[in-house]
């Protein structure tokens, strides 16, 4: 069952009335299908279709070479050597035990195994705290600002929530202006500081503004940084502390954006960001290319961090809740 925004976020009772009701369910289902089809279409846009490779491999006689080819197919999807070996070994074991016969059963089981890995931890976003503070972080160019903007749009449109966007990326040229455009598009309140201000002080102003105006959600955008830049990771931890000082449980959600084209370095990124700021979920962006985002599986498997949102295009609607089974299926079909 594919997930919709109402499945992803938890809002209080009054708000959930605003969420799509059964009347709108048909429309939601239609949209969901459209999304799934698009995701799959996009993932299919590859000359060496992974699915065909797997089908061909699994329908023939299973020998050492078939398993190796299956491994290669998963490695090609950036799943990584370790997680790949783990999945293929399990499939091989079950096949040898005689439980799985035929390409269909094998690929169905493969989907199950992959989805089980992707499904980890608490994969919902709880918005009942008022205001709920969402901190965005990630490596340069992974799509933080865009995700922050689109998320603001969805939360206000789908749930009627009042959102504040705080531009704590005070480093990259014109990053503040970029977020401001998103604030205008989504009708969010916008908080910024003068150029080159300490990001912590922008976050502080953001929390104050959200408290003053009685906003429901505050989304704090931060500057992209490589996880290897210790001083910048320290700066990010400070932003988190500043927020926690004003609201004890905040940030309630810390989202790490990971570019779907990222290779095995994504694991290091997630690991180090998680150490610095307790990442609660991933946003897997740019899934509309030919990259399959298999690194998210490696991250889920090794670190237990769930994917919560995916980015499948440049339009406002192209930020979607993550669905483990859809993702796994799109990966191998």
């Amino acid at each position: 069952m594919a997930r919709d925004w109402a499945d992803l976020v938890i809002v209080d009772a009054a708000r959930s009335m605003l969420a799509p009701e059964p009347a709108a369910a048909a429309e939601a289902t239609r949209r969901r299908r459209g999304m799934f089809t698009r995701l799959r279409e996009n993932l299919r846009k590859t000359r060496q279709a992974l699915g065909a490779e797997i089908q061909a491999t699994l329908s023939g006689e299973l020998d050492a070479e078939s398993w190796e080819r299956l491994e290669e197919a998963l490695i090609y999807a950036d799943v990584g050597a370790r997680t790949t070996a783990q999945v293929v070994a399990e499939l091989e074991r079950e096949a040898a035990a005689g439980g799985l016969v035929g390409a269909e059963a094998l690929s169905a089981r493969l989907v199950e195994l992959l989805a089980a890995i992707a499904r980890t931890g608490d994969d919902r976003i709880d918005l009942r705290a008022k205001p709920t503070v969402i901190l965005m972080a990630g490596v340069n160019g992974t799509g933080k600002t865009t995700t922050a903007g689109k998320l603001a749009h969805h939360l206000s449109r789908e749930f009627g929530l009042r959102v504040v966007l705080a531009a704590a990326d005070t480093f990259r040229a014109a990053a503040v202006e970029q977020l401001e455009v998103w604030a205008q598009r989504s009708g969010a309140q916008f908080v910024r500081g003068p150029d080159g201000t300490d990001p912590g002080s922008v976050a502080y102003d953001g929390v104050s503004a959200a408290l003053d105006s009685g906003a429901d959600v505050l989304i704090i955008d931060t500057a992209g940084r490589l996880h290897t830049q210790e001083d910048l990771m320290g700066e990010l931890a400070k932003v988190r502390r500043v927020v926690a000082k004003q609201i004890p449980d905040a940030p309630h959600e810390t989202l790490l954006t990971v570019d779907a084209t990222t290779g095995q370095n994504g694991l290091r990124q997630a690991q180090i960001f998680a150490q610095a700021i307790e990442v609660s979920g991933l946003v897997l962006t740019k899934l509309d290319g030919t990259a399959k985002g298999g690194i998210a599986l490696a991250i889920a498997s090794d670190l237990g961090i769930p994917v919560k949102l995916i980015g499948i295009g440049e339009r406002l609607d192209d930020l979607r809740p993550f669905d483990a089974e859809d993702f796994a299926r799109a990966l191998v079909q």
Binding site: I75, G141, Q178, H227, Q264, N265, K286
Partner: protein, 443 residues
């Protein structure tokens, strides 16, 4: 970059080194390790296959088995093949015979095109003395034009922009005419990030290319890219016929296997490496040095080049004269320290020295220590700087107070300086100094 791959290959090959001769089983074991290491480094699996096949074939050949030191031979083969795969010689941009030389930048979203555009502008201005203009053709991403205006100006380039109303093709063509009219040497055209499967935007890129007839089309690739790098590179290459590649974000700990894949797929050279957020953290890409670095042989050549950029030759000669005559004083010391710091963070420099990689991985260099030393020297009178032996009791206390340090720090600095002078004396006399004895004395 590449640290772990380097370690892995070294571990594998040190096993090979341990044997007298190579057996086929040895080679197979080494190849498995290399395969896994390269896959973990995000080298495309098809590239890995052909690479390991090539290494195996050469390793199994007569030039290895029976040789006195087969391990060294395998290291050499891996090095040769890695270098060959990455493109052999370093390649530079070709300038148009009649300016302006027009460079078109292309790549996926978030690969770092706008930053690379400004860095390349600065590089060409500094290294070739070119007058450079950059054109802002990313009309889609919010505030991208503002970003280029800011970083372009910082890079000392003139920024040609027409807002976001006109089409990128129109802006690019207009910028080309203007660069010609303004007598610019180089025009770099920044474009918006686009997916290689976005037919509409890829068509637009081809149209920009047609409109401005660039002398070079450069693909910007993120060093952290995974297996998909081959498709991206292939698609861009087919649409706009690439001339070269810029690899960005190489300052992270990504092993950068994508660089190898892209080279293998497009056959086009990797020309530049972007290694930090600052505009001057941008350099030529040297394939042979990168291969040596993967194998843990250090990147001495890059270090030497950096040093020669930062040091004025005249100053260097003057310094050498002082070394010989032993007139080297604390003022010279201060100046030398400043020049070294101009080369960039010490951490980066040390990582280029062979053998330092592993040892210094975790070590942190406290750059503030230099600030302290500088403060101490600046708190001395000119006479004290020339004759540090004058510094005793009350002078020491005054310097400590003036520099915000303490008497011990001042004492330690002067002691270190004296040790250094001794070392220079020995070196100037032409003898090889007993370094270990000196190190012991320094402690």
């Amino acid at each position: 970059m590449f640290e772990t791959l380097s370690e892995k290959l070294q571990a594998t090959l040190s096993d090979v080194r341990g044997h007298g001769t190579l057996t086929e089983a040895d080679i197979s074991a080494a190849m498995r390790e290399i395969r896994l290491a390269l896959l973990e480094a995000d080298v495309n699996f098809q590239v890995v296959k052909s690479f390991t096949a090539a290494v195996r074939e050469r390793a199994l050949g007569a030039d290895v088995i029976g040789q006195l030191n087969p391990g060294q031979q395998v290291v050499k083969i891996v090095n040769d093949e890695l270098t060959a795969l990455m493109g052999g010689e370093a390649q530079d941009l070709h300038f148009a015979s009649r300016p302006p030389t027009v460079i078109l930048m292309a790549g996926l979203q978030g690969s770092g095109k706008t930053t690379a555009t400004a860095k390349l502008a600065r590089y060409l201005r500094e290294q070739h003395g070119s007058s450079v203009a950059v054109a802002a053709c990313d009309v889609y991403r919010p505030a991208a034009v503002q970003q280029l205006i800011q970083v372009g100006q910082r890079a000392g380039a003139e920024v040609y922009e027409q807002g976001t109303e006109k089409s990128p093709v129109q802006i690019a063509a207009w910028a080309r005419d203007r660069a010609q009219a303004d007598g610019k040497d180089v025009l770099i055209v920044d474009t918006s990030g686009r997916l290689h499967v976005d037919e509409e935007l890829m068509r637009e890129l081809a149209e920009i290319r047609k409109a401005i007839r660039p002398d070079a089309v450069l693909l910007v690739v993120d060093a952290m890219t995974g297996q998909d790098a081959v498709q991206v590179a292939d698609q861009f290459s087919q649409t706009v016929a690439l001339d070269g590649v810029i690899v960005t974000k190489l300052d992270g700990d990504a092993r950068g296997g994508a660089a190898l894949s892209v080279k293998a797929v497009t056959g086009k050279p990797i020309m530049f490496a972007s290694t930090g957020e600052k505009l001057d953290q941008f350099e030529r890409f040297y394939p042979e040095r990168m291969a040596q670095r993967i194998l843990g042989m250090g990147d001495v050549l890059s270090l030497i080049e950096k040093a020669s950029e930062a040091f004025d030759e005249q100053q260097a000669r003057e310094l050498e004269r002082k070394f010989r005559r032993q007139e080297f004083d604390l003022d010279d010391f201060l100046e030398q320290m400043r020049q070294i710091r101009r080369m960039g963070p010490l951490q980066n420099l040390l990582s280029m020295i062979p053998g330092m990689g592993k040892e210094l991985r975790g070590a942190k260099i406290d750059e503030r220590e230099f600030d302290r030393i500088q403060a101490i020297i600046l708190s001395m009178t000119p006479q004290e700087r020339r004759h540090p032996e004058l510094i005793k009791g009350s002078r020491r206390l005054r310097i400590a107070r003036g520099s915000g340090t303490n008497v011990q720090a001042v004492k330690a600095l002067i002691k270190q300086f004296e040790q250094m002078r001794k070392l220079m004396k020995v070196m100037a006399s032409g003898k090889t100094p007993d370094l270990q004895a000196l190190m012991r004395a320094a402690r």
